[in-house]
Structures are given as C-alpha cells and as structure tokens.
Amino acid sequence: MTMLPAPAPAINSTTAEFWKATTEGRFLLQRCNACDIVLWFPRRNCPKCWTEDVSTFDAQQTGTIYSFTVVRKGTGAFKDAGPFVIAYVELADGPRIMTNIVDCDIDALHVGMPVEMVFHDTGEGSALYRFRPASR
C-alpha cells in the first residue's frame, strides 16, 4: 500500500489546539470537569451538561478496530491511492473515532484488531491521526 495522501483539515478556533498538538505527535482529548465524561470531537461546551468547564489531556494512542471498509477506488486526492481503509477505531480512552488504517495487509484486517496511532503531516500545520496494526 502506498502512502495515503494527507489533505489538510479545516481548522477553527475551537480545534486549533487539537490540530497543533498533532504536529507534535500528540492526540488530545477533552474531559468535562462537571460530569467527568470524555468528549469527542473537540468542543467548547460539554454535550451532556453544556458547561464550558472542560479540560484537555493527552490521550493514549492505542485502540481496536470497531468497524472498517476497504475503499476499492478513491476520488479526489485519493484518486491514485489504490485500495485504502476507512475505519472507526475505539480508543483506549473510550471514543470511537473515524480514521484510516494504514501500513496493513487489508486481507488480514478484522473487527477487534488492536491498532496504534501514527501521524501523517499535512504540511499545513496539522497532521492526520491514523492507525496501523499494533506492533505487539
């Protein structure tokens, strides 16, 4: 599998801290200090109690595949990528997040497979968080 393209995401005032951290190899999650739930994706207000009293922490960069699909032919920036994998990964810290699985044998992928995070620099002040099969 060739290197997947890494198109830059749109960044706004709420997500700037998150995306800056990705360029340092860090994946930030938020926790609501009032109701103690983990938030995904970055927000100013807790979606359960709507307080702005949320804090940020460095998340574990591991998880398991919750579901995946092999896209046989991409379009746009992914036109020449060959078959590639879109997935939901359930993070060790809880949230199920949409992502790509890379550096893998697509025929060996399965739901429940342990994976670890890698970062692909977009060249525009952000890095995409993707996953590969866990090394151990």
Partner: protein, 385 residues
C-alpha cells in the same frame, strides 16, 4: 394533539425520466408539482403551503417565488433523503393546526446530467468525520454493514437478497433505471465498492423528482380521487453521540415506535412497506429497527423471498425502490411515499399489488448510517383504517 386522520395524501407524481438534461432544476420542480396537483384534481392556485428540502434555492423562498405562490405556511426541513417524509408529517401537523389545507411537497435533482453540487455549512464535526478519503455514501454505509456482520453474522448473500427482491419488482416498472431481475450471484459478482458492499448493493443514481399533495379531510372529501389517510408520523436524528456511535442500528428504533403509537397500529397490521434503500444494509437494519424481526435477524428475514410482493412476509418497494427504479437527486424519500400511496389505491403494477392493502408504512433514512442520519416513519391507511 395527534395527526391521526387529520390529513390525507391526495396527489402523487413521480417523474418518469431518469436522465433529464433538457430541464433546469426548477423546471423539474414545476413539472412534478403540476403532475401531483393534476393527480389530486387540484390547481397550483389551490396551494397554500410549500415544502422543500435544502437544495431548492434559498430555503423555500426561491421555490415559492418560482411557483408564483404566496403560501401561508412553509418548511424546508433538510434531513437528506428522508426530508420528504418529514414534510408529510409536518404538513399534517400544520393542517391539523389550521395553518393550511393544501400542502405541496416537491423534490428535483440532476445528479446524472446536471451539476450536482449540494453543499452544506460544516458542523462541529468538520475535519473529524470528513476527510479520510470519504467520497460518497457507500464508504460510511459500508462501516455499518461490516459491524452488523461482525455482531450478528449477517452475510453478503443475505444483503444481496434485498437487491434481488427489489429487482424482481423493478421488472414490472418500465420507467425503472434497472428494469430487470438479478440474482444473488449477480450481486456477489459485481465489483466491491467499499467492503462489504458491492456495486449492486448500492442504489441507482438518477435525475428526476417527485411531488406529493397533502390536504385536509375537507379537501380530500371534495376530490374525486382516492386519498391515503395519514395515520402516524415519527422522526428522529441519530448521530455519533459524542464518540459513542453504535453502527448496528438506525434512528428507526425511535421514529418507528412514535409513528406506530400515533397510528394505533402494530407491525402485524402493515401489509406493505416502502423501506428506504440507499443500500441493502439500510433496508436490513431498518426492518429490524421497526420491529418486523428481532435485532440481528434481518438477514434471515429477507431470505427466501421475504420481501417479494405480493406474498412475501413483508412486501417492500414494489416500484423497484432506490436499488433498481429511481433515487432522484440521490434522495429516495419521496418515491417511498409515492409507491405506498399507489399500493393503498390499488394502483401498483398488478403483478406486485398487495391484496387488500389497508395499512402501509413508508420509512426514510437521510444522511449516513455511518455517522448521522434523519429517520422518518409514516403510516398510511385507507379511509376506513
């Protein structure tokens, strides 16, 4: 207040064409509006409420201007392909509240031959749910299919049975985009688009449109045409739930009970169902979620002709559905209501007409099973239902 019996679907029209290079979007809106009004026996000047999705211009204003109307009520609820079922429910509520008496609901789109640039403002998911190479609905619906297979052992052959049933119906519809029957093997041998979905697990892409006329009981009684009584409506939005998405069920688990409760009927009363069929997995999950079978048993339910009209356990999508007939503007909701009304009137093709079709259901799923979607359930009945 309930909408049970407060309004009727009195007119329907499905654009007969699937490629429409020679009409603008707004011309198609007019064409289908006039078609449905003629079906009901009404005039454009009778319309006092206009309903459209978010693609018909600047909210409802562009369309109302185009039609040359001055409605007392309007609504541009946008939940993708389920919008039009929501419009029916909202129109019925508005009629029950005395806000209007003749509601016009139209859809038009040209994804085949026209520019089809539907764009919406980004939500707070921007950058987190887009990207990743997602370039169409199949990619995210495939995620739902994969997880359903993992949890319940659903197979590709079972999903294929849904396409086969739709195709059996489509062969009686001369306007269908794919008017021929296919086999399970045909589906499984078609190219994988996004595992586990094959090309034939996907709906067709068609230009087209459709329209519905929803009227008060007084107007319905004044018309010579048989109308379908609106018995119940339920709607719900299912989303990623703060990183807690569960891909094995749809918003039908919430919209269905609301509609059944309002209608005062149960799944056993449903003689025919139009089930939104953007993909085979959409149908499979929806019939489970509406309670036609237990969760996880959808694969078994659809086997052995379970969905084939007129005598299957649950005759569905007798026009060929989005899977074979028509998915105008990449939105299948309006044709779901149209075929349900044909069944209530006894005007489906004789080969697929369900006998004594007293109560039917139409269900829409707009957006994505893989992230967020709007689910809307309608229950329709004949006059004495």
């Amino acid at each position: 207040m309930t909408i049970r019996g407060a309004a009727y679907v009195a007119g329907i029209y499905e654009h007969p064409r699937r490629d429409i290079p020679d009409r603008t979007l707004f011309e198609i809106h007019t064409e289908v509006a006039l078609g449905a009004l003629a079906d009901a026996g009404l005039q454009m000047s009778d319309v006092d409420a206009v309903f459209c999705d978010g693609t018909a211009g600047f909210g409802p204003m562009s369309l109302v201007e185009h039609f040359g109307l001055r409605p007392t009520y309007f609504d541009s609820t946008e939940t993708g392909g389920s919008s039009y079922l929501a419009h029916v429910g909202h129109a019925a509520a508005a009629i029950a509240a005395g806000k209007c008496s003749v509601a016009l609901i139209t859809l038009a789109g040209k994804p085949r031959t026209g520019r089809h640039e539907v764009s919406f403002a980004s939500g707070s998911d921007s950058g987190f749910e887009s990207g990743w190479g997602i370039a169409g609905a199949p990619h995210t619906y495939a995620l739902a299919a994969q997880r359903h297979m993992y949890e319940f052992g659903t197979t590709s052959a079972q999903l294929a049975e849904i396409k086969v049933a739709a195709s059996i119906h489509a062969q009686y519809n001369p306007n269908a985009y794919l008017p021929y029957a296919v086999t399970v093997e045909d589906v499984l041998n078609s190219p994988l688009v996004a595992d586990p979905l094959h090309r034939l697990d996907c709906c067709v892409v068609t230009d087209g449109g459709g329209a519905l006329i929803v009227v008060s009981p007084e107007v319905a009684r004044s018309l010579g045409r048989t109308s379908a009584k609106i018995l119940g409506h339920g709607e719900a939005i299912k989303h990623t739930s703060n990183g807690g998405i569960d891909l094995t069920y749809t918003g039908a688990v919430w919209s269905g009970p609301r509609a059944f409760a309002e209608a005062g009927v149960s799944v056993a009363d449903i003689k025919y169902a139009s089930i939104y069929d953007s993909f085979t997995i959409t149908v499979l999950q929806t019939i489970e979620d509406l309670g036609f079978c237990e969760k996880g048993q959808g694969g078994k339910f659809v086997m052995d002709g379970g969905l084939v009209a007129p005598f299957g356990k649950l005759p569905f999508n007798t026009d060929g559905g989005g899977l074979c007939n028509n998915h105008p503007s990449n939105r299948g909701g309006i044709t779901k209501v149209i075929e349900a009304v044909r069944q209530m009137r006894g005007e489906a093709h004789p080969s697929v007409q369900v006998p004594n079709c007293q109560i039917s259901l139409a269900h829409g799923t707009g957006g994505s099973l893989g992230s967020k979607h709007g689910s809307v359930t309608l229950i329709l009945g004949q006059e004495d239902a």
